[in-house]
Symmetry: C2
Subunit: 365 residues, 2 copies
């Protein structure tokens, strides 16, 4: 059931899983869990030959057929994809940077129609099973990925050691093979200069905070990813619960930082957010870093109830849409940097004007 | 028929004469003509004693009573005004900077209800008669001021020499005593780096171009005033006609510069104007220089038909309203710089949102 270009199916639809915001949508942007799995008796992809890699792909394909969530999924070989489509999948978080740049036999990806689940084949491990959702929904997401994993094991035999757990190509993944991460929007902590302290505190208990766009002060977008570091010696549910606890604390700190800002410098805050909205809604040229910065301010404004016509979902969607691959996919051709800046502004302006028309005027403060 | 504070009457109304834009409202902002006059047989104000100054004021007051345009005019002594009211009159272009800082006996000003005419008494000369209008309306304005001047001479005897013409305190005003000036909005020429050349060309034929806010690149607001330099040896109508010719040429140059910009860099132009609109409509803190800069961009956008809901009149009005004296007059108290920046943003945001509600959405390009 493939269309001519399966990626076009994705490009024509908004990211469905992003629409389901949680209660802290202004801070918790999205959650991702991935499991690293390998098939018993077959060399890891780095050591595997062409025949092995093809065999793995075939076995995974048959196993995926037994997973209802993957019904009608997109099933594409990396080697069959144009550069633009590969970048598109990368920007959509459906494949890794490594997978994006490979064209070897057996390198493939399965993507659920709702894009909330993808399975990379013959990346670093035979399988990289990943599920995603908007907001923070660690428990539910763990249930989901565990369920998919169980269905896969009905047809696949994983490389597993009673001592170590799941065996993986890289030792850092051995054991549970799990990497759970939550993307957080932390403008309050950035403004209060507390990111470094939080990062260190989180690090001491075995978790990692990474700026999503550059490190330190370069984090346009104020987005940070918190994830577990160790996969060995702790159960998946322990890791999930611990991460959830950490996230709740970071969210609490962020809420406090915002409250302080709101009490001490309300006009500064409204100005920052108002200008961002004004620029995004009326600019005709938008560089990527500025767009991320202004969208961050807008997301903060949404959380502070400054806008009635825009929600966090709009911001999530725009953050995906304004990426170079997406802009070029929409225009169906290669765009140079200037053209992308114009295309980016068009998308943002159009989307915010649409939101505007659907509802009433934004509130004034 | 005076209210308790006559200046409050003005503060409560928009500047009426500013609403009457001409056809080139995007470029020609306003026109002003002033005549310097002195009474025969009385020393110039710098040499006059208290009795002379009081006598001059009394004679002018009686003469003003015979001018229908000045019916119900505001008649105030500078010494009776609070600092804020003096600054208010200065910002409204109704008195000069010199007159604003003086409190001597007999220093006074008569202001027509429509603010299109003011008569300073005992400034540098006994009378400084000034008329103003929006856009460029040199001919009509000359007719008006000449008419008022004629009515005044029915009751006043001017110091006049058959050889020199009207006698004035400063030799630069001797002869016609006329200073005619047109305020121009020249963002195109500023962008094209042609202001210097225009200024020099205008200078060689005896006229002057002055940046309204600072010199050279500091001219936030892109506003320039073109006026005659000499008052001796040329008739008023000759000066008026020559100035009108010059203005028409400068307007033509400005139109060309804008056209070139629109053809070569349309997105840059739309971006510049769109951002200005977005910021003015949504900022909560606005410094004076930024406000002038953004209002200049907005005025350009209006001229390019980018907005259906705002006209040049709105910009003219805002340029007056956002000045420190006006902001403090509205709030009826002294405001520090931060408070003024917030008050300024409130005024601009409110005014642009009002415009918005009255009509449809601005056009998109």
């Amino acid at each position: 059931m493939k269309a001519k270009n399966p990626i076009d199916q994705l490009a024509d639809q908004p990211v469905q899983w992003l629409s389901d915001d949680g209660p802290d949508a202004g801070i918790t942007v999205s959650t991702r869990i991935r499991l690293a799995r390998n098939l018993a008796g077959i060399p890891f992809p780095t050591k595997a030959n062409t025949r092995h890699r093809q065999a793995v792909l075939q076995m995974v394909r048959e196993a995926v057929a037994g997973v209802p969530l993957m019904d009608g999924c997109i099933d594409v070989k990396m080697s069959s994809l144009a550069e633009l489509d590969r970048v598109f999948l990368l920007e959509r978080h459906l494949i890794s940077r490594e997978h994006c740049s490979t064209r070897k036999t057996g390198n493939s990806v399965f993507v659920a129609r709702g894009e909330n689940c993808s399975i990379m084949v013959n990346e670093e491990d035979h399988l990289r099973l990943q599920v995603m959702t908007a907001g923070m929904q660690l428990e539910q997401l763990w249930q989901l990925v565990d369920h998919v994993d169980s269905l896969l094991t009905e047809r696949l035999q994983y490389a597993y050691s009673d001592d170590l757990g799941f065996l993986t190509a890289c030792p850092t993944n051995v054991g549970t093979g799990i990497r759970a991460s939550v993307m957080l929007h932390l403008p309050g902590l950035v403004f209060a200069n507390q990111i470094e302290a939080i990062t260190q505190a989180v690090h001491t208990i075995g978790f990692v905070v990474r700026g999503l766009y550059g490190e330190g002060s370069d984090t346009a977008g104020n987005l940070f990813q918190v994830s577990n570091q160790s996969t060995l010696g702790e159960s998946e549910t322990y890791i999930i619960e611990k991460l959830e606890k950490i996230i709740r604390q970071v969210v609490e700190h962020e809420r406090n930082a915002r409250q302080v800002l709101l009490e001490r410098k309300p006009k500064y805050l409204y100005d920052h957010i108002g200008r961002a909205y004004g620029i995004l809604r009326h600019a005709y040229i938008l560089e990527s870093s500025e767009a991320l910065r202004q969208l961050s301010a807008l997301r903060l404004g949404i959380d502070l109830n400054m806008f009635s016509s825009i929600d966090a979902h709009t911001i999530n969607e725009l953050m995906v849409m304004i990426q170079p691959g997406h802009l070029q996919k929409i225009h169906n051709r290669t765009l140079d940097e200037n053209e992308r800046d114009i295309a980016r502004a068009d998308i943002v302006r159009g989307r915010l004007n649409d939101s505007k028309r659907q509802t009433t005027d934004e509130q004034s403060h």
